[in-house]
Symmetry: C2
Subunit: 366 residues, 2 copies
């Protein structure tokens, strides 16, 4: 059978090996997963209650207006419900934006290394990728590449803070930078981890209402998968000028987010104590990760997220990841991004302590 | 901002009025919803237990290989895991199939009135719709339209049984018909309600393993939203030859189905008693709906699903639906399909009794 031509350019899906199973095959008793930037404190109690209370409604289609969650988000950010769209993860909003703006005749722009889904979705519509030589966000480099290919670039991604590297631009410099971007270029501000950055340094805080007011071409993305502890439920959101949200809605499938995910997200948004504990645990533990790096002469970028990325010179990141796996610790090897680095999610204190012990011993033997 | 041209041809989303809220505004105490073909017996106990047991894992990303559910489905249908793809509702598999095969230069074929999402997704890629004059599935009409536009038609939909009309082709005649369809045309067998049809009449039973063996261009769709009582969780599946599944996988977003949905679906598949009770309730109650139609001289198509569609001549379906709504009973007006008809989901006995009482009184006053 012939498929649309674009499929020839897409990779065949490799069924993911269940990495936890592999670890167990190595005879490890307790697997510690520090690979997916999940919240180490688990599910917020309020969200957990919402899931259990609503489980018996799982046979009913959700309210497709999603007004409860959209209104809660609008209220939190000083916007209207009409400025909000909910996705099955913020990934799905990226997918909608891609289909709304990109095609085989145009392109998107990002920094050298950023969230992989930008490019994966763009490839599905045959759009070209422009990336700066700088792996992290360098506004001068982004601007010069943008100016060079202005007529082609229809989406510009800024990941604030950046996954998988952890650095974060100041909100002020972003605002200045955006003034030079054409109105027809969609600017996606991926703020999946921005609560972490804002907590560490208020200068990193992106205010979507303020940005949207100045820039009708900005789409702000947030998620419940990280700080809000609902990675398994797939809920994210996009916020923008109403015209832009309407365009995305044209491509949205009905009932794109499930009833328990909507209920849990609404409850999680309200769980301030859980959020506070998550942020405090993250950054007190982050200090341990930085200390470990310094003690072991590892390069790292100070992180504004819930993970940290260690870079290696002589040692090999894939080899190190494999050795950690044999000890039952799962981290993210960044080899597929072209980096000799590993990304480690900040876990609970006892998980991190085990990581430090095992990794130190691996580094010394290596 | 300019969007991809196709968006100009798509309707702006109308935020759905929450119909239950409206009913409550009419001062109704108990709203009876017979509009979305949800399972009136609710959530199966096994699925409910699975949700509650796994709620505390909602912070963890699901196993993206989805091997547990894919293997369970493969086992049930005599296929391999590689023949199965899971979607956020079978809708999402229709979306993937559309993006794999359709574009602005080709077309799809369906009977006159069928599941609305076929056309909605096709419009998003600019593909043309061919529909038979016959509103129900008429194989001769489908064949003649297919022959006429063979080079253009790249997806053929057969909805067995058909939503929103309820009729169902015999499996044998479908197999014969498929022999005349070109190998490059993707045949989507939408079996979302096929368990109901099979229970009523074994001749309607579609065996995906048998079909896939004979026709590498068949994609069989099933869902957990109807018989399995998980409409709110959005889980469906596609089964086909491995090559076809691989093509769909190229377009699938990672983590497209959430962790609680996967766990609940796997458990529901195993709840034979719930399935049996659901089927028995449905068809014993269906007799009441047919009896009611005959007593009130209403046209209907004998239904092989969990809903029934009543047709009207002089009376107006929108007017009747509105009057039912004022009594707190929600049904689906089929005006948007160009029909003067309403579709009623088969509910619990007491819900159906209330429907009969209210509707009879409305019909008599009208």
């Amino acid at each position: 059978m012939q498929f649309n031509e674009i499929l020839n350019q897409l990779k065949t899906y490799e069924p993911g090996k269940d990495i936890e199973l592999i670890a167990k095959e190595y005879g490890v008793k307790e697997v510690i997963k520090l690979a997916s930037n999940e919240n180490p404190l688990g599910v917020s109690q309020k969200a957990l209650n919402a899931i259990i209370q609503n489980a018996s409604k799982a046979h009913l289609y959700p309210d497709d207006s999603m007004s409860e969650l959209r209104n809660a988000l609008a209220l939190k950010f000083g916007l209207k419900m009409q400025n909000v769209i909910i996705g099955a993860g913020s990934d799905q909003i990226i997918e909608l934006a891609t289909h709304a703006k990109l095609n085989h005749k145009n392109a998107f722009l990002q920094c050298g290394v950023s969230f992989a889904m930008y490019e994966i979705y763009a490839k599905q519509v045959g759009a070209k990728a422009y990336k700066t030589k700088s792996i992290t966000h360098d506004l001068n480099a982004l601007k010069s590449l943008y100016e060079e290919h202005k007529s082609e670039i229809k989406i510009l991604y800024l990941c604030l803070p950046n996954n998988p590297l952890g650095e974060c631009l100041d909100a002020f410099s972003v605002e200045e930078f955006l003034k030079d971007i054409d109105e027809d270029c969609l600017i996606v501000i991926d703020a999946a981890y921005n609560e972490f950055a804002s907590f560490k340094d208020r200068e990193k805080h992106i205010d979507p209402a303020k940005l949207i007011k100045s820039f009708p071409n900005v789409l702000y993305l947030g998620t419940f998968s990280k700080l809000y502890g609902l990675g398994g439920l797939r809920v994210g959101y996009g916020m923008a000028d109403e015209e832009l949200i309407n365009a995305l809605y044209k491509l949205r499938a009905p009932f794109n987010v499930n009833i328990l995910a909507l209920k849990a997200a609404t409850a999680a948004l309200d769980d301030e104590e859980f959020v506070k504990n998550s942020l405090e645990n993250n950054f007190s533990q982050m200090q341990e990760f930085e200390k470990f790096a310094r003690e072991n002469q590892l390069d790292f970028i100070p992180s504004y997220t819930n993970f940290i990325t260690y870079f290696f010179e002589e040692k090999n990141s894939s080899d190190l990841s494999e050795k950690l796996l044999k000890k039952g610790i799962i981290v993210r090897d960044l080899r597929s991004y072209g980096l000799n680095a590993i990304r480690i999610s900040i876990g609970k204190p006892y998980e991190n302590t085990r990581f430090f012990e095992e990794f130190e011993s691996i580094l010394k033997k290596n």
